[in-house]
Every structure is written in structure tokens, then in C-alpha cells.
């Protein structure tokens, strides 16, 4: 299976349409891709020359991952053309792409946890001795060699599952290198790596490009992009927002303005809202590897947004406050009392309620009716658990359906039969059974249509007017800009920006989200 790059040359007799086939490795023209009604890619062009590193940048959902997965044969595009070294590329599978020398190393490696490191590296590309037997000695020797190039001296006999996130990332990269790529796609390879490991990875990338191999490098870290990339491509909303060749220094302002599209617009005049006392306060709160020392303060009746790139600890932070994750350090104050919840019940009793990330698995009992779901909080907190106040529960469900305008045939209807937006209203509505002081919402409009989205924010606004504090994590910044009084930005498990009023602009949020420029921050 393992062959040298020379074995993968263009089929003979295929005339190239590109002017300099020797230089251009990959040419992508007008790629489109829809997922259902969502346009992920809307005519993207990309050109990569041999021996160069292309930095692919963009906010969450801009289409970088989809584009790289299309190039790697994991996703079939709806339209557009691709050429590899002058020959058309129309692979429908990762295996076909690998045969042309296109290999991707994913951000979240899917290694076989029980298999040793060396077997993982050659899984699916086994080195075979005559007769079809795996040549263990050769495989082990090469695995050690590749890992050494990446600066790692890990024991290749240990199962991959025991490795740290960084170790697993290195194995994933080694896996890609073992397949002798002509084009290597690295999807956020450094997210789990420490500084020294990044330096060694970059050295390895330089050795590859010296051999004429092309690299597509996806990262959110602008510093790394500047250090390793020869060319830049910025994506926004499934389109190419800009592409240029770097000349040493990286124009960060240009990148941020291209990513957000609207550099200077202040989107929302702050509606002055009378704020009450501090209701929740976090000091140096830590939990696991996701929440690494968060300070924040929430006041009565405030709507606060939680922004940041994907996976910076936002969802986890909400779970910690809700009592669903254990606190490892720091203090959580509710009013003027330090609390250490051991389960969500402890916080719910204090009026701190979570609308979780995954509606169907964490927020609802999908096999039960709308009424059953709306009444459950009352049942869970029942003071006399041997009774069941059916009449009261019925009234509660009917009142909640009316108040939140939940579109349903009635409380008897199965909750799974509702639309996503109405399911989300049920998840919010079930908390109306208690006195909500703080409502924590984790991506509440995920998979919800525009109309229901505005209704959900209207409900949040109504609750806030009545004194409830809302802390909302949403992946779309626009949404937060429109509905929040204040936006906190998270980066690598900490709050790095606290923006309000005129400072609450998309470029500033993006800058903070990339761990850059904390002007306007007073956190």
C-alpha cells in the first residue's frame, strides 16, 4: 500500500489546462456544497503550489472544514471542479483521494484506542511482507522514525487510548505522514500541542515542503499562521473572502475584517437597562481541562452573551455553573454565599437553570408528551414524592404552552413530534415551574429556524424584564450582538474579553476570540 510519491504521477496523455503544471499542485474552482437547506460552500476557489503552505482561515461555520473534507474525498461536492497536478480530481472516497496522494490529519483524531501506536499509524496502509503478512519489524521501525521526525520519543507499543490529547494528535499527524502525501491537509493540528511540539511540527512541515509537498494548514492561531504559511485564504459564509501571499508579516487587521465582513459597524445601540444586584459571581473557577480560571459577575435582569471560537470552554462553563460538572477550583458565589453544587438539583433549588446543548438527549424526555416534559421539574423537586398533583401539572402545562406560544396539538402530543424551535421552547418552558433567577442557555438556537429563533429571544427578553438573568452561549456572534446587553469572550478556558456598549462590535469580539487584542476589555 505504501508507495513513493513518484508512483502517483498524472496519468499519461492527460493534457493540463493549467499554465504551469509543474508549479500548481491543487486547483479548486467554484466548489459548492449544500447540507439540506444550508449552503456550506458557495463557489470557492483555491490554488496551492508545490512546496508551499496555505493557511486556511475563517470563523466557525465559514466552510473551511467542509472544503478540506471535500478535497480529502470525505464529502462529495455538489458542483465545481478540482485538479491535482493538472489532472482532474473526482474522487468519491478518502481511499481514492489517498491514492492520488491527498491525506488529511483531523483535529479530533479517531484512533483505535486499544491498538498500539505503531499499528494505528499504519492502520489501513499496512506494510506487508510477501504472503500478505504484516511486516511488524519494518512497521515499528518506520513508525519510530516518523514520530522522531515530529520530535516525539513515545513508546510505540502502548495503546493509543492511553495517550494525552497531544500524543494522539501527533499519532494522527504521523499517520498522515506514513502515507507519503503529496498534499497534506492539517486541520487545527496545533490545538492540542504545546509550544515545543509546535516548533518541531513546523520543522517537519518545512522538510515536507522542501520535497515539493503542498500543505493546507487550518488554524485559529494567527501567530502560527504567520510563522508557517506562505499563502493565506480567508473564508466567510462559504465563500473566498480574500487570498494573498504573505510576505513575512501577517496583516491581522485585514484577516479579521475579511472574516467578519463588516469591519467597523457598531451593530446595536445599547438599550439602557436598569441592572440589579449581583446574583452570580465566579472567581478563578476551574473545572477539568475546559474551564481554566473564569472570573465573571452576573447581575439581576441582565442578558449576557458568551462568545468565542468553538470549544473554548463555553458549553462546559455553563455546565459547571449549572452543577452538572464538578468544580476543581475557584469559587462560585450565589448572592453572597459560596456554593459547591454536587449535582444540578443544588443549583436548580437556587433558581439557576440550564437549557443544555443537546435538546433531545439532555433537555427532553423524547419518548414522552409535551405536558409530561413541561411538568417534570415540578415532579423532580416534589416535596411529597408519594403524591402526584395531576391537576396542578395539567394547568402548568397548559399555561406554559399559552405563554410561550408552543405550537402543539396539545399537552398529550409527543414532544419528539414538534419542530426544533418548539422543542426548544419546551426545554425553556419546563423551568417556568420554578422561580428562575439565572437561565443558562447553551446554543439555544442550534438547528432552529429564523422565526422560532426570534421567538426564543423574545422569551428570554421577557424573562429578563421580569428580573431573570440570562447567560447565553451562541456560536453566531450576530445573534449575541442583537440580543445581549454585554458580551463575554472565552478563549482557551478563560474570559478574555468583556465588551459592552460601543465596544460591542464583531471585529473586537473576533479579535478577542482569537486570543488577540484585548482593547475594550475590562474583565
Amino acid at each position: 500500500m505504501l508507495s513513493s510519491p513518484d508512483a502517483l504521477v498524472t496519468p499519461a496523455g492527460e493534457p493540463s489546462r493549467l499554465s504551469s503544471p509543474a508549479e500548481t499542485l491543487l486547483g479548486v474552482r467554484g466548489i459548492t456544497k449544500r447540507f439540506g437547506g444550508v449552503v456550506a460552500l458557495d463557489g470557492v476557489d483555491l490554488t496551492l503550489a508545490r512546496g508551499r503552505v496555505l493557511g486556511l482561515l475563517g470563523a466557525n461555520g465559514s466552510g473551511k472544514s467542509t472544503l478540506s473534507r471535500i478535497i480529502a474525498g470525505e464529502v462529495v461536492p455538489d458542483g465545481g471542479t478540482m485538479e491535482m497536478a493538472g489532472a482532474p480530481l473526482s474522487h468519491a472516497s478518502p481511499q481514492a483521494a489517498a491514492r492520488r496522494g491527498i491525506i488529511i490529519a483531523h483535529q479530533h483524531p479517531s484512533l483505535a484506542p486499544d491498538m498500539p501506536v505503531w499499528e494505528n499509524i499504519f492502520l489501513g496502509a499496512e506494510i506487508c511482507a510477501p504472503g500478505g503478512f504484516i511486516n511488524r519489524g519494518e512497521a515499528r521501525r518506520r513508525a519510530t522514525g516518523i514520530l522522531a521526525e515530529l520530535g516525539s520519543t513515545m513508546d510505540i507499543g502502548q495503546p493509543a487510548g492511553v495517550l494525552t490529547a497531544a500524543g494522539q494528535q501527533l499519532v494522527e499527524i504521523a499517520r498522515a505522514l506514513a502515507r507519503s502525501p503529496r498534499l497534506l491537509i492539517l486541520d487545527e493540528p496545533t490545538a492540542a500541542l504545546a509550544g515545543a511540539e509546535v516548533a518541531k511540527l513546523f520543522a517537519a512541515i518545512r522538510r515536507l515542503t522542501a520535497k515539493g509537498i503542498g500543505v493546507i494548514f487550518i488554524s485559529h492561531r494567527l501567530g502560527e499562521i504567520g510563522a508557517i504559511c506562505d499563502d493565506i485564504l480567508v473564508m466567510r459564509n462559504g465563500r473566498t473572502a480574500g487570498a494573498w501571499t504573505t510576505s513575512g508579516r501577517l496583516d491581522e487587521a485585514r484577516i479579521l475584517s475579511l472574516m467578519t465582513g463588516d469591519p467597523d459597524a457598531v451593530l446595536r445601540p445599547m438599550a439602557a437597562r436598569a441592572l440589579g444586584d449581583t446574583i452570580l459571581k465566579l472567581q478563578g473557577l476551574r473545572a477539568g481541562s475546559a474551564v481554566r480560571g473564569v472570573d465573571l459577575e452576573l447581575r439581576r435582569g441582565e442578558i449576557v452573551g458568551l462568545a468565542g471560537l468553538q470549544g473554548q470552554g463555553q458549553a462546559e462553563l455553563l455546565e459547571v455553573i449549572a452543577g452538572h460538572r464538578r468544580i476543581d477550583g475557584g469559587t462560585l458565589w450565589h448572592r453572597d454565599r459560596a456554593v459547591t453544587p454536587s449535582l444540578p438539583r443544588d443549583m436548580i433549588r437556587r433558581g439557576v437553570c440550564l437549557v443544555p446543548d443537546d435538546r433531545l438527549r439532555q433537555g427532553l424526555f423524547s419518548g414522552e408528551s409535551v405536558g409530561e416534559n413541561l411538568g417534570y421539574v415540578k415532579i423532580a423537586l416534589a416535596k411529597r414524592p408519594w403524591t402526584l398533583p395531576l391537576a396542578e401539572l395539567g394547568q402548568l402545562a397548559a399555561a406554559t404552552i399559552r405563554r410561550l406560544l408552543i405550537k402543539t396539538e396539545g399537552p398529550e402530543q409527543l414532544v419528539s413530534a414538534l419542530s426544533g424551535g418548539n422543542q426548544q421552547k419546551v426545554v425553556i418552558g419546563k423551568w417556568l415551574a420554578t422561580d428562575i433567577e439565572v437561565l443558562l442557555l447553551s446554543d439555544p438556537t442550534k438547528g432552529v429556524d429564523i422565526h422560532a429563533r426570534s421567538e426564543i429571544y423574545a422569551i428570554i427578553g421577557e424573562l429578563a424584564a421580569a428580573g431573570t438573568t440570562a447567560l447565553i452561549f451562541a456560536s453566531e456572534i450576530q445573534e449575541l450582538l442583537l440580543h445581549c446587553d454585554r458580551i463575554l469572550v472565552m478563549y482557551e478556558g478563560r474570559i478574555v474579553g468583556n465588551l459592552s456598549g460601543a465596544a460591542m462590535t464583531e471585529p473586537r469580539i473576533m479579535a478577542a476570540a482569537f486570543g488577540r487584542a484585548s482593547e475594550g476589555a475590562d474583565a
Partner: protein, 314 residues
Amino acid sequence: MIGSSWGRPALLLALTIALLVVGQLVLPGFIGLGQIANQLKIAAFLGLFGLCQTVVIAAGGQGLDLSVGAIATLGGILGAALMAGSNAMTIVGAVAAVGAGLGVGLLNGMGVAVLGVPPLVMTLALSSVVDGGLIVGVSLAHPADAASPGLVAIAGRSLYGVPSVALIWAGIAAIAIWLLSRSAWGRQLCRTGANPVTARLSGTHTVRVRVMAYMLSGGVAALGGFLLTGYVGQAFLGLGNAYVLTSIVVAAIGGVTLAGGKAPYGGVACAAILMTVLVSLLTAINMGENGRQIIFGLTLLVFLMIDRRLGAQR
């Protein structure tokens, strides 16, 4: 309709009546009053152990209690040892038996809900420990093993033609049905079984609910073993063994889905009666143990397939 709360018991009762009619046709006298009373007695024990499984399976997380047999034996032997044949001490024996059952159930529940040991492993392990402990205890202490005359009267006799064990079972079943379907705790139990994450995030103390489920199972199993001692006349090692698997079978036939989240005890009680009648009919027509096992297994399979089809339609 078989899946709804009344459909299942109705179907099971209809099948029971059909079996009784077939029995009467094949063997005139099969529907004698004495016969029916006797079958109710046997069904009462099966139904009590079925309640244990109903509660722990409903609690979810692959819930199962393989220690009901050992706990029943413990309840019987401990109860017999304490009452030592005296009527006055019968109540003491009963309380001690149930207490011991609650204790073993507490250990089961802690292992499952706090330490995260799979229920199959946890209850099987404790079952071995209890069984082994009883062998050692009995061989060292040689305790009294006879049921008191009072207990024999309660467990073996009838009141106006109705066996008193069946009356006790009816009382417990009524409480159980109310607790499981008409109380907040029952809802907490079923929702914890159906989706422990949502239940926890909605304010349920899921660990406590699950521990209580295993305690309830242990307490009922020990009570079953204590009554069984009265029914048989004496306690002995292995007293409850026959009920470990049959209790799971009646729970499944009664409509408890092994995935958790459902506790239809009415159906389980009817299933206990149906299976008792089925076994006695098969015995009456001289079918051997092997044949009975085959029919038992096939009945279970048929009901599980019905459940799958209904589940797929929803």
C-alpha cells in the same frame, strides 16, 4: 393496544382465561376452586419477585437484580433463625428479614449508582457473597429453620377460600402500582431510567432514586423469602434460587422494557398469573421439565418480539 397501560394486562388475563378453558377441556377439574387458590399462591411469590425486577429494570442503566434469589434465601433463613418456631417472634423475624434485604439492596444500589458497576455484575457478585455467607453461617451456627405456626398459617392457609399470601400480594401490588404510576417518585424512577442525563439536569437526584430502587427490590425479595419459608414450612439454602430468572421473565412478559423507563406493574402481576397457569397446565398434561423450559422460552420470545414491533411503530 397491547402497549398501552390497560391493553397489556387485558391481553395477559385473556390468555390466562384461555389457558384455563383449555385446561378444563383437556383435564376436567382443572378449574376447581382449590386449584385456582393454589395457583394464586404460587403466582403471588412469582409476582413479588417480578416486582423486584420491575423496579430495578425501570431505573435504567441496564438495571437487573440477580441477587433476588440470594436475598430471599437470606430473608428466609434469618427470619426462621430469629423466630425459632415461636409465633411471638414472627414479627421480629419479618422485620429483620426485610431489614437485611434493604441492606443488601443498599449495597447493590451503591455499587451500581455510585461506583458505576454494571448491575449484572454487581448483583451477581453480591448474590455470591450472600449465598456463600449463608452457607458458612448455617454450618457454624446451625440456626433454627422451621417457620412458626403463625407464619405457616399466613403463608399456607386461606381466608374464606382466598389464600392469604395472595391477599398480601394484592395489597403490595396495589401500593406498588400506585407508587410506580401515581406518585412523583415513580415518575422520577421511570424518567431516570429513560434518560438519566435529562433527569439529572432537570433536578432529579438520580443516584438516590436508583439506590432506592435496589433497596426496594432487596426488601421485597427478602419479604418474599420470608413468606416462602412459611409456605414451604422451613428455610433452607437455595430457597429463592428458582426465582432469579423467572422473575426477569415475568417482568419482560408483563411489559417492562429492558432498556428502562417503564414500570407497568399491573402487566407484570398478570404475567405472573399467566406463567403460573401455563406451567401448571403443562405439568398437568405431563409435559416434562425440558418441554416446559422450551415453552417458557418461546413465550418470552413472542412477547419481546411484540414489544419490538410496537416500539418500531412509534
